[in-house]
């Protein structure tokens, strides 16, 4: 919403600089995006001049040489406009003035004649769209009116317009908005009243306490014609639930033409293009009152019959912007006998457009259902100044304000005669809303004392009617333009509080302590620990998009039926590559690896800590933050298990002494082991295939017996698809980890009283036998005394033939005695038997 400051000030002038006004508005709830200037950057150098004489230019057919009185000295100005004539009062820019387009005016020689300034057109001044000739400020024949700046009607006048006749040399700014400060407001959806100049003026009044002029609509126009409006028009509302009120007036003998300069300049400053006086009046009245209006050429409405109804599915109409549009059955239309004439509350149609030849005007001012207008304007992709107001739900009372002001202006500026009467179709109109404010509640909610008198004064300035009920209660009658926003006591408290200069007066306190203890949940703490471990082991944390492309499943070679193909799809994605929610962290890690390696990184160690999104089905065991187990009465619609993913790729770390290892399966597993070790979660990896992993170098992660993810080297074809040489990584479900983690629950174990006995053994087993099985067999045979069996070497070679040799360090310990050599020998025999049972032998 653009609010020209001088226009607003004509209703309430706090006497503040525009920047200060903007700041105070912002601090009381009306956000000001910027304070702009419409027109020239400064009014300096723009004056009123009188043309004394006009002579043809000696060397140019189209130019005239004018003698001008512009105060002080007589000036010669070369002018190209056809309408310049001696005696005219004109707008002049003197050398040094900066024009709205940024040009700094200089004395110039035009075809040999020195020109000492410039006579201006509306366009050059940026206050109108008439570029055909210069602006004549006092020509009675011109449409600019006389004196040009006065609308000649009570309540419409610009301040100071009734002053003395302008004289040559006067600053032009006294007559025209040469350099007009404009507040650009970002109005919140609850304040349609601030989509009106008078509404903003009321805010200025409430903040500054400067006087507020009576509303410009307070006086109605006098009818001039004979008969009644019903002789010319009729209205039938077939969908009253979507059209609370529909009012019509009819005007005859309308003279359509350009609007006067003051009107055009106000519209231009407010960002509206002047069209003709009738349309300009509807726009102007909308800007003043916040209530949109629509003018029909009555000739375009057969017999003046209007029907307000829902469109039939697929019904079409060409709107004022020349586009043919098709409607669905929820769109409201204003129709004539032959079909749609305008889209209700959004945009008019061509058949009844007001044109230069229009003589009879039907003025519609209606109240539409805000939700319906919003829906229709979105589904049509068509938003207008009118729909932006209607969608915020206007009050039916505003219609007559707009009718009254517009009627007066049509009579004054278009010479129209108003046919007596108003067609006013409405259901029962709502009674003014009354809301009670208990003054004590203000302090209770705001934390600052605001007394009853102050509350009352603030509400009154905002237009509320007030009734005191004892010392402690106020009953406020809500003005119609605020009806949607203020319905409860809390809303009144906000009104009172927002005018309290909160930025300067509100104390800063803290809530009373109460019985509360802050903290992270165990899950959150473990997640932080896990992230820290991955970081400490070299991982750079990434955050990749939660949404991905549907093709990722193919890229990862996931077979039909794989649960990770069962994606949550976005109905309205920004792009296809962000159209489904991820079901694995692998995609984001692979993308990030490629991104970095292709940009010069030699290696990457990336990890992500985040959720995947799974359709319901088999719930993930103990999965969290616990996916599907969020608090609240209604279960969440999908599962969102938290995962940790890691991906290593690129060249090994180079160094002058020991180069780092290549990023293979075992590096990834080392990290996974360290991670699980820190969390105290029991980890197993068993051979298993994943479609996107190397079939011989991949496994399933088990945490405390529960499946918890995959680990492995990337399948070479997948690696190739992501331009990677090789890569290894894992994806770990945090749910089972949290369930299994012993972190924080560890118990002290005695290690001094009965020292352990260590013994190294070498076991030769067939090549295909997994080391974990060997270790498990050894541990089982060792029984309760065998505390740990750690594999520390792997040997293949002639001495062991076809098989492989694993070296294990066995740690024997009893908690209640020192072990004897005999006991250990016994265990060793048991281990030998167990190893032989799985097809191996103990090397002595």
């Amino acid at each position: 919403m653009k609010v020209p400051v001088s226009w607003m000030s004509s209703y309430c002038d706090p006497g503040w600089e525009p920047e200060h006004l903007a700041e105070r508005l912002a601090m009381t709830g009306t956000e000001v995006e910027r304070v702009g200037i419409v027109g020239a950057p400064s009014a300096e150098g723009f004056v009123v001049g009188r043309v004394l004489a006009v002579e043809p230019h000696p060397d140019a057919d189209r130019l005239s040489v004018c003698k001008l009185d512009a105060g002080e000295v007589e000036r010669t100005i070369v002018c190209g406009a056809p309408n310049v004539a001696a005696g005219q009062l004109v707008a002049v820019a003197l050398p040094g003035a900066v024009l709205p387009d940024g040009t700094k005016l200089k004395q110039a020689k035009l075809r040999g004649v020195v020109s000492d300034g410039m006579i201006l057109s509306e366009t050059e001044l940026g206050i109108g769209d008439d570029a055909d000739g210069i602006m004549v400020l006092d020509d009675p024949a011109s449409s600019s009116g006389q004196p040009s700046t006065s609308p000649g009607s009570a309540g419409l006048a610009r301040p100071g317009a009734a002053g003395p006749e302008p004289t040559p040399g006067d600053s032009l700014a006294e007559l025209l908005p040469v350099s007009e400060p404009v507040l650009e407001l970002a109005v919140t959806t609850n304040r349609p009243d601030c989509l009106s100049i008078y509404g903003v003026a009321r805010e200025a009044h409430a903040i500054s306490e400067a006087p507020l002029a009576d509303p410009p609509w307070s006086e109605d126009a006098e009818a001039g014609g004979e008969g009644s409006v019903s002789d010319h028009a009729s209205v039938s509302v077939e969908a009253p639930e979507l059209c609370q009120r529909f009012t019509v007036r009819v005007f005859l003998d309308v003279e359509v033409g350009p609007s006067p300069a003051w009107l055009k300049s106000r519209l231009m400053a407010a960002g509206q293009r002047p069209i003709n006086n009738v349309v300009d009046i509807t726009n102007y009245v909308m800007l003043v009152t916040g209530q949109p209006l629509h003018a029909f050429d009555l000739e375009g409405v057969p017999d003046g019959e209007l029907v307000v109804r829902r469109a039939s599915e697929g019904e079409k109409m060409t709107t004022l912007d020349g586009v043919e549009r098709s409607f669905d059955s929820e769109t409201m239309l204003v129709c004539d006998r032959e079909g749609p004439s305008s889209i209700a509350g959004i945009m008019g149609g061509q058949t009844s457009e007001v044109s230069d030849s229009t003589k009879r005007v039907l003025l519609e001012v209606a109240t539409w259902d805000g939700v319906n207008i919003l829906r229709s304007s979105r589904s049509l992709g068509l938003r207008s100044e009118a729909s932006a107001r209607f969608e915020k739900q206007l009050h039916p009372e505003l219609t007559m304000r707009a009718q009254q002001l517009a009627s007066r202006m049509l009579i004054d500026l278009c010479g129209a005669r108003m046919v007596p009467g108003t067609i006013d179709v409405h259901e029962e109109l709502p009674e003014p809303r009354k809301v009670t404010l208990r003054v004590a509640r203000v302090k209770a909610l705001v934390g600052m004392e605001i007394d009853a008198d102050t509350c009352a004064a603030r509400l009154e300035r905002l237009g509320f009617g007030l009734e005191r009920r004892g010392e402690e209660e106020l009953v406020a009658t809500v003005p119609p333009e605020r009806d949607g926003d203020v319905t409860r006591e809390a809303d009144l408290i906000e009104e009172v509080a927002r005018l309290a200069d909160l930025d300067r007066t509100l104390p800063a306190t803290l809530p009373a302590a109460g019985n509360r203890v802050g903290g992270l949940t165990r899950e959150q703490g473990l997640r932080r620990l896990a992230e820290d471990v991955l970081r400490d082991l070299g991982g750079d944390e990434i955050i990749s998009w939660s949404f991905t492309e549907p093709g990722l499943a193919d890229g990862l070679r996931l077979p039909e039926g794989d649960r990770r193909r069962d994606v949550i799809a976005i109905a309205n994605p920004l792009s296809a590559d962000q159209s489904v929610m991820r079901t694995t962290l692998a995609g984001g890690l692979l993308d990030a690896a490629r991104y970095n390696l292709s940009r010069g990184a030699e290696r990457v160690a990336l990890f992500e800590s985040g959720r995947v999104y799974l359709r319901d089905g088999e719930p993930v065991v103990g999965s969290g933050p616990p996916g599907g187990e969020f608090s609240g009465r209604r279960p969440p619609p999908v599962l969102e298990p938290h995962r940790l993913g890691l991906l290593l790729s690129g060249a090994p770390q180079r160094a002058w002494r020991d180069a780092g290892p290549a990023p293979d399966f075992f590096v990834a597993k080392g990290i996974l082991e360290a991670l699980c070790g820190q969390l105290g979660a029991e980890l197993q990896v068993e051979p298993a295939e994943e479609p996107f992993l190397h079939p011989g170098k991949s496994g399933r992660i088990l945490i405390g017996e529960l499946p918890a993810g995959w680990i492995g080297e990337l399948h070479p074809l997948v690696a190739r698809a992501w331009d990677l040489d090789a890569a290894a990584g894992f994806e770990l479900d945090m749910g089972p980890v949290v369930t299994a983690a012993a972190y924080g629950e560890e118990r002290y174990e005695d290690f001094t009283t009965y020292p352990p006995v260590n013994e190294d053994v070498a076991v030769v087993v067939p090549e295909g036998l997994p080391a974990a099985e060997v270790r498990a067999a050894v541990l089982e045979a060792g029984g309760a005394l065998l505390h740990e069996a750690e594999i520390f070497d792997l040997y293949r070679g002639k001495q062991v033939g076809e098989g492989k040799s694993l070296a294990l360090r066995l740690t024997y310990r009893a908690s209640d005695r020192t072990l004897t050599e005999e006991e250990i020998a016994e265990r060793r025999d048991a281990v030998r038997v167990a190893v032989e049972k799985i097809g191996g032998s103990l090397r002595e």
Binding site: M27, T189, N190, G447, A497, P511, D616, P637
Partner: protein, 366 residues
């Protein structure tokens, strides 16, 4: 014999004193104390001596042996130390070579670090950290936050909708919502306000960090970003308490001496509603730098917008009334803001999109 012992001792003492290496000392040990050494032989032959000599010879012989052993040991330690000195002084490494690389330590994402900092601050103020679903029912994302269907504020936050059929009917049934209830990617962390109040009666003091989604993408908007929500509901909690809480939080993030400022605003789920700013930490809120130029961070305003807040709207309590939140007597505040915005301000990150490029050249800066 005793004289001979004295001679041997003197000879040995001189030789030990002159020994110049531990190797030479070893030879001396063999020569004077070894199995075939004269002193050893004398001591071994004592039994064959006349009885009256045995005492004197034995005594002086053992004394000499003891003294020599001590001398050799002491001298040995001296020589050993000086030999080590010498050999150490010949060992040299190039100390200017880089160290053997320890396993590289990685980096947490700046968003993670910033989020943790905010969480820790709020935990210190007595808040628990809660999380909620990102794929959320329309009910929690909008309706229960006082955005009734058709409310313009719903449209202001352009939402991503989940395609019908993507969520199983069973899931919607168990949520006891209509089968055509829209499912959205949550547009803010606020839906968790209602979920948390459904799960727990007052008083409640929680913060909710997490990912949120809006249909918008440019230098200042990302379709996915992170927010932190705060909710405090309890007896007598006021707007002034909100001011104090925001002040503490902003000081923890932006430094002591910062001030918080509230500007009235509008949100459907708070009333009164405010936006809150922090005083600019670059120009100390004055709008101008030391050299008099306009502060580039706050654009000369002295304040930087951070987020939105307000007193929880009675209509929101209306949705959790039966869990101990009667709307006419319950009060509390809520606030929310973007984590990216804090990180950008705090660490001079110029473009929101940098957070999701996952470029290690950025990741490794933090």
């Amino acid at each position: 014999m005793v004289e001979r012992i004295a001679e041997i001792r003197a000879e040995a003492e001189a030789a030990i004193a002159e020994a110049s290496s531990t190797a030479e000392l070893g030879e001396l040990r063999v020569r004077f104390l070894g199995r075939g050494a004269e002193l050893t032989l004398i001591l071994r032959g004592i039994a064959e001596l006349p009885a009256e000599q045995r005492g004197a010879v034995g005594k002086s012989g053992n004394q000499a042996r003891g003294a020599l052993e001590k001398l050799i040991t002491d001298r040995g330690e001296e020589l050993d130390a000086s030999e080590l000195e010498r050999s150490v002084s010949e060992e040299r490494v190039d100390v200017t070579l880089p160290g053997a690389p320890s396993p590289a330590v990685g980096h947490l994402h700046l968003i993670t670090r910033t989020r943790r900092r905010i969480e820790d601050t709020m935990v210190g103020l007595g808040y628990r950290v809660m999380e909620g679903p990102e794929v959320e029912l329309d009910h929690y994302n909008f309706t229960a936050l006082n955005h009734p269907p058709g409310h313009p504020a719903r449209m202001a936050q352009d939402s991503f909708y989940v395609a019908p059929g993507s969520v199983s009917a069973a899931a919607l049934e168990s949520a006891a919502v209509s089968l055509d209830e829209a499912v959205v990617l949550r547009t803010h962390t606020s839906p968790m306000q209602t979920r948390a109040m459904e799960a727990q009666g007052p008083p409640i003091f929680i913060v909710i960090p997490g990912k949120v989604y809006r249909r918008d993408s440019d230098a200042t908007h990302s379709p996915m970003f992170h927010q932190v929500e705060g909710l405090a509901v309890g007896e007598g909690i006021t707007l002034a308490d909100l001011q104090g809480t925001l002040t503490e939080m902003l000081r923890a993030i932006f430094g002591e001496g910062r001030e918080a400022r509230m500007r009235p605003h509008y949100f459907p789920f708070t009333e009164p509603s405010v936006e809150f700013d922090v005083s600019c930490y670059r120009c100390e809120g004055g709008g101008k730098l030391a050299d008099g130029s306009r502060c580039p961070l706050c654009k000369g305003v002295g304040w930087i917008e951070v987020g939105g807040a307000g007193m929880v709207d009675p209509n929101v309590f209306g949705f959790v009334e039966e869990n101990g939140y009667p709307p006419d007597t319950t009060q509390g505040f809520a606030f929310g803001f973007g984590i990216e915005r804090i990180a950008m301000l705090r660490h001079d990150v110029p473009d929101l999109r940098r957070f999701f490029d996952n470029d290690v050249r950025m990741l490794e800066q933090f």
